[in-house]
């Protein structure tokens, strides 16, 4: 691939955040990314721009200044109400070609991980998935991107010196959202969807999002997770009660999912989701390696199991040796007393 010349590279400036929009609402990961982008922009003496693509999102776009956005690029169109990779990628590609950002970051969500590779490939750019750390190389101003590989067993630092923009996805809850400063203001730049953007796109027929009661695994602060030791669907009812009391999400090992005790959407591990929450409580999960690689990056791991010698009990920061069916109901009894 032909590297950009120095002159070409210098045409690129500013740090862009692609906002995560779900059902017409800007999601919290956007603010976290703006916080990370602000640090990069300070190091580069440039600006933070946020791109908000969706339908009916113009008013919310202005709330992003408080978190550190200097400019917000708004593309508000009824045709963007539902997530369509091709359409959003086409819009982003056009905007990136027009404004030439130096860095583009996006949430490593199901949408971000579908959308951004398409953009990066089309623009001949490097892309690093699921970054947990972003910084600027003081020597040459390149973006240094740190990410876990091999299920979190290696941290790799990646750069992309010869191409612009440098692109990365970042998992929700990894970066801290800055405190809002309501005094801060910025510029709104409006763009419209144009003809070629709409070419060769699929039809989104229907959406089934449960945005009220369910806390999703990627966005949760705490996950209560169960394995074979939960013995059946009733065991998971217990964990759901526990989770609802602490505002958490329910996870599961592959064994529990394959036994039909809980749907696949809850599976954590190699063939499920990778999570990185503040607290992970493993109930009756022995800790097969395929499960551990999906959750070993959580800040605090708590395990409850009868068998004190399982890999999960060894890895845990707090391990409780005992019967989950005695301990979890007792926890549920104790919580409301607080």
């Amino acid at each position: 691939m032909i590297a950009l010349t120095d002159t070409e590279r210098k045409q690129y400036s500013n740090i862009w955040v692609v906002a995560e929009v779900l059902s017409g609402k800007i999601q919290p990961v956007t603010q976290e990314l703006i916080g990370a982008a602000k640090e990069l922009a300070d190091a580069r003496k440039s600006e933070v721009w946020t791109v908000v693509v969706g339908s009916g999102i113009s008013e919310q776009a202005e709330t992003l200044f408080a978190f550190g956005a200097d400019a917000v690029l708004v593309v508000d169109d009824p045709g963007l109400a539902r997530f369509n990779d091709e359409l959003e990628a086409n819009v982003l590609i056009r905007l990136i070609r027009k404004y030439k950002p130096e860095v583009v970051i996006c949430g490593a969500t199901s949408r971000g991980r579908a959308l951004i590779p398409r953009v990066a490939v089309t623009l001949d750019c490097g892309l690093t998935a699921d970054c947990t750390g972003l910084s600027i190389d003081p020597e040459n101003g390149d973006l240094l991107q740190t990410r876990p590989a091999f299920g979190g067993n290696i941290m790799a630092t990646i750069r992309c010196s010869n191409h612009r923009p440098q692109m990365a996805t970042v998992r929700p809850r990894v970066m801290k959202a800055p405190d809002a400063d309501p005094q801060r203001t910025g510029r709104i730049i409006r763009e419209t969807v144009i003809g070629p953007d709409r070419e060769n796109i699929k039809k989104i027929i229907d959406v089934f999002y449960n945005t009220e009661s369910v806390v999703n695994l990627a966005d949760a602060q705490i996950i209560i997770s169960g394995g074979r030791g939960m013995k059946g669907p009733d065991g998971f009812k217990l964990l759901k009660r526990f989770a609802s009391l602490v505002g958490g999400a329910v996870g599961a090992s592959r064994a529990a999912v394959d036994s039909g005790w809980i749907p696949y959407a809850h599976q954590i591990g190699q063939t499920g989701q990778t999570v990185q929450t503040k607290i992970y409580i493993a109930c009756g999960i022995s800790g097969q390696i395929q499960h551990l690689v999906g959750m070993q990056s959580c800040d605090r791991i708590i395990a409850i199991d009868k068998d004190p010698n399982t890999p999960m009990m060894q890895m845990a920061d707090l391990s409780i040796a005992g019967d989950v069916f005695e301990i979890v109901p007792e926890i549920i009894r104790q919580i409301p007393k607080l």
């Binding site: 691939m1 032909i2 990779d85 091709e86 990628a89 969500t109 199901s110 991980r113 579908a114 590779p117 398409r118 990066a120 490939v121 089309t122 001949d124 750019c125 490097g126 892309l127 998935a129 699921d130 240094l144 091999f150 299920g151 067993n153 941290m155 630092t157 750069r159 010196s161 191409h163 699929k202 959406v207 089934f208 695994l217 602490v246 696949y264 190699q270 063939t271 990778t274 503040k278 607290i279 097969q288 395929q290 551990l292 070993q296 990056s297 605090r300 004190p308 890999p311 060894q314 890895m315 920061d317 707090l318 409780i320 040796a321 005992g322 301990i327 926890i331 009894r333 919580i335 607080l338």
Partner: protein, 262 residues
């Protein structure tokens, strides 16, 4: 229906052993296996073929020993397999990998559907599927949990998101990436095993697929790994609680309060 299933050979997961110092997983002496998500991609390809007729072609890029996963693909029902293998492909990142695979798909010709697993469990990027779609300017659906309908013209799929799912209709040819939930992979039959041993697997080089030398391997990769390091050690001061259920529960509730969860 001509279906290409892109697969990858990855290091196998071993029994879990935890380093008592760092509380991290110890990895050692790994065998190479078929990427777990790709077993579902293969099964879905074979299943669609049984509904609509046609052909399933397994495609991988890797060192010569990656041929093993192609033989495995044939044992579960792929009709033929192609290995992209050459020093020139070495060091490819996801841009260059998806470029090489897309050139091979073009060379195969008249492909209606490309199926990949959600991601490979070594790199975990999930970028190659959408990358192939971008190189070939095709429609894409990632995280597919079910195929609702398929004709020679279109495919209707359910895509899983963090908050639920959506249903979309793609015009073929298209690229989909699939999750574990989509099917239960079959085990190889004796006939399948025999076929997998006997078949010839062609090896394609960059020139065979018309790949431009500066778009493959390290030269074709915009990203560079600067360094790798072990992850920071987990909290090594682990606490073990044993006692009555009340005492155990108390310890946990106290722990959650300390961390402002309660």
């Amino acid at each position: 229906m001509k279906i290409v299933v892109c697969i990858k050979q990855v290091p196998a997961a071993n029994d879990a052993k935890i380093d008592p110092e760092t509380k991290r997983i110890i990895r050692e002496g790994q065998k190479a296996v078929l990427n777990p998500f790709d077993t579902y991609a293969l099964e879905e390809g074979v299943r669609l073929k049984s509904l609509l007729g046609g052909e399933v072609i397994a495609l991988t890029m890797g060192p010569p020993k990656a041929e093993a996963v192609l033989r495995e693909a044939i044992s579960v029902g792929a009709d033929r397999a192609i290995l992209l293998s050459d020093r020139g492909f070495g060091g490819s990142d996801t841009w260059a990998t998806s470029y090489a695979l897309s050139k091979a798909i073009e060379k195969i010709g008249d492909v209606n559907l490309v199926i990949c697993g959600k991601q490979a469990v070594d790199g975990d990027t999930a970028q190659v599927g959408p990358g192939i779609a971008a190189h070939l300017s095709l429609q894409q659906a990632t995280y597919v949990m079910a195929i609702q309908d398929v004709t020679t013209e279109s495919i209707t799929v359910q895509r899983m998101h963090e908050e639920g799912y959506d249903i979309c209709e793609l015009h073929l040819p298209a690229v989909i990436t699939v999750l574990k939930d989509i099917n239960v992979p079959r085990v190889p039959t004796l006939k399948g095993r025999l076929a997998s041993q006997k078949c010839d697997i062609p090896v394609w080089k960059p020139a065979d697929i018309g790949a431009e030398p500066d778009k493959i391997g390290l030269d074709g990769s915009p990203t560079r790994v600067v360094r790798t390091q072990p992850p920071p050690a987990r909290n090594t001061k682990s606490i073990r609680i044993e006692g009555t259920p009340q005492e155990c529960a108390q310890a946990l509730v106290k722990d959650l309060r300390l961390r402002s969860i309660l």
